[in-house]
């Protein structure tokens, strides 16, 4: 690891100030991704700003709007086990348990999960070019080994995927990200937090210089999906692997008809993949396979495979049908018993 200076921030303002003073500084909390990237030489910050002692970034609290605020420092396991989360937003708890390992979920924080980098092999290998790591150097994943790469929203500059499971659930639930920076605080709709690679794949998200994630906000209306949801994750081994395809499905079914629907995919794009047309196709229909298939068609429109991942298009279609079926039946995918019912 390259040497770095260390600053233990005692307030959000202090952390923001430290970030502004040293533009290549990085925020460190759980360290599960950043420390690893530093060992590989992918990240070489001159300074780390330790935010783990900032009380204002902690806690899970009810909001005035009737939703939940999850502080940026709250570890994944704490979120997944919180009774308010498991009863009101069980899709989020399930998605978290689908990811990583118990050790990593103890360390990994809510804010860090949002800001983790892609696991593209070429991004990690500093001996190969990578437009995300070194803008303008090229993308060897295009035409290279690309089994885990994007089938939607990619560009000629980058076909990396966002690796998070938690973020797929947050996208489906319509969360917001509260950030603080040199110009004050602002709230970013989850769909606008991560970005597609376009011609600037080095930018994963829309955070501005000096800004840090303060909390994630869950809206009260997303509680309507607590009865009908499923997070289905398909991967190369049953546990502790990143998604080839994952589906967060959530339905609000009344008198046999879908009155509201949420559908997001993981493992297929540079950000959690959600389209309003797909959800609109479900609303007003009975919760049956015809409606699910129409939603899948909308969500996967324009999907394009590469040498090793074209199978993901059909896999995603089938996974959408299965996850929405599980959601409709009120039998969400277990993250312990991995048999797919």
């Amino acid at each position: 690891m390259k040497r770095f200076s260390y600053h233990r921030a005692d307030s959000v303002a202090d952390a923001v100030q430290a970030l502004c003073a040293t533009p290549d500084a990085r925020i460190v909390a759980g360290g599960t991704n950043l420390v690893d990237l530093m060992k590989y030489g992918v990240e070489t910050p001159s300074a780390l700003v330790d935010v783990t002692r900032i009380a204002a970034l902690n806690g899970i609290d009810d909001t005035d709007e009737g939703g939940l605020r999850i502080g940026a420092l709250v570890p994944n396991r704490t979120v997944a086990e919180d009774a308010r989360v498991t009863t009101r937003f069980p899709l989020l708890a399930s998605a978290i348990l689908a990811g990583a390992t118990p050790q990593l979920r103890n360390a990994a924080t809510t804010g860090g999960n949002l800001n983790q980098r892609t696991r593209c092999y070429y991004f990690y290998d500093t001996k190969t070019p990578c437009n995300k790591r070194e803008p303008g150097s090229g993308c060897p994943a295009i035409g290279g080994v690309n089994r885990i790469h994007a089938i939607l929203g990619a560009s000629e500059h980058c076909i990396a995927t966002h690796p998070s499971d938690m973020c797929v659930a947050l996208a489906a639930l319509g969360a917001e990200v509260r950030v603080e920076g040199p110009n004050g605080a602002r709230r970013i709709p989850f769909a606008d937090y991560h970005r597609l690679p376009g011609d600037a794949p080095e930018r994963d998200n829309t955070l501005q210089p000096g800004e840090i994630v303060e909390a994630v906000l869950l809206p009260p209306e997303a509680e309507a999906f607590a009865g009908h949801h499923s997070y289905l994750k398909l991967r190369d081994r049953l546990s502790y692997a990143f998604a080839l395809v994952s589906v967060a499905g959530a339905l609000d079914i009344r008198e046999g008809r879908i009155v509201a629907a949420r559908l997001a995919l993981g493992g297929v794009a540079h950000k959690p993949w959600r389209r309003e047309e797909a959800e609109a196709a479900l609303v007003g229909s009975p919760a049956d396979e015809a409606a699910f298939a129409a939603a899948a068609t909308h969500l996967l429109e324009g999907a394009r495979g590469h040498e090793h991942n074209t199978f993901k298009i059909e896999l995603a279609r089938r996974a959408i049908l299965r996850a929405l079926g599980q959601a409709a039946a009120g039998t969400p995918q277990s993250q312990t018993d991995k048999r797919i019912a």
């Binding site: 260390y6 599960t32 118990p102």
Partner: protein, 172 residues
């Protein structure tokens, strides 16, 4: 800047409780907890496997919870209580999981074993060892290249079941 702002070449004073003993140390920001334990404190029971959080051989308990020590910076452990495999036995008596791993032959080469045992101690505390399926899933962060998984699950299940029995008898 707070008092804890140092340049990369300096060291930072930290105080930790290590296997029950208070320790005052001075660490470089770049040192991981794993390297602090093994290279600076001669506690070599905690193993370095992949050094990237993928194998679990370096698992230790921090304030009672399990973590990959290879991904933890030592400088960030100020004020924490750390327990390694060396700290599990009490008064010369093996921890029940250590005894169970021996009884069930839950290892072959033994390199992953300290991490497996520390992980399992936390697993049982988490209340997540209620079935073999659950033990397998919630031990997924600990790899065993010899493939002793079946016996590892046996050992953990044995201790978890014995831990629950007195509670059940008390309830009846």
């Amino acid at each position: 800047m707070s008092e804890h702002a140092v340049a990369g070449t300096q060291t930072v004073p930290i105080q930790i409780t290590l296997n029950g003993e208070p320790r005052s140390l001075s660490v470089s920001p770049v040192t991981t907890l794993l390297d602090l334990l093994r290279n600076h404190l001669d506690l070599t029971g905690t193993k370095k496997g992949c050094d990237h959080g993928q194998c679990g051989a370096c698992t230790v308990l921090i304030d009672g919870q399990r973590f990959n020590s290879c991904l933890q910076l030592a400088v960030m452990q100020d004020g924490k209580a750390i327990t390694t495999i060396e700290g599990l036995a009490q008064d010369g008596r093996l921890h029940p999981l250590q005894a169970a791993f021996i009884e069930h032959d839950a290892f072959q080469c033994g390199y992953c074993t300290p991490g497996q045992i520390c992980s399992a101690v936390a697993l049982i505390e988490e209340g997540r060892a209620t079935s073999r399926e659950e033990i397998r899933e919630f031990m997924s962060g600990n790899l065993c290249r010899c493939g002793a998984y079946t016996n590892i699950v046996d050992a953990i299940e044995d201790v978890a079941v014995r831990r629950r029995q007195p509670l059940q008898e008390a309830a009846e």
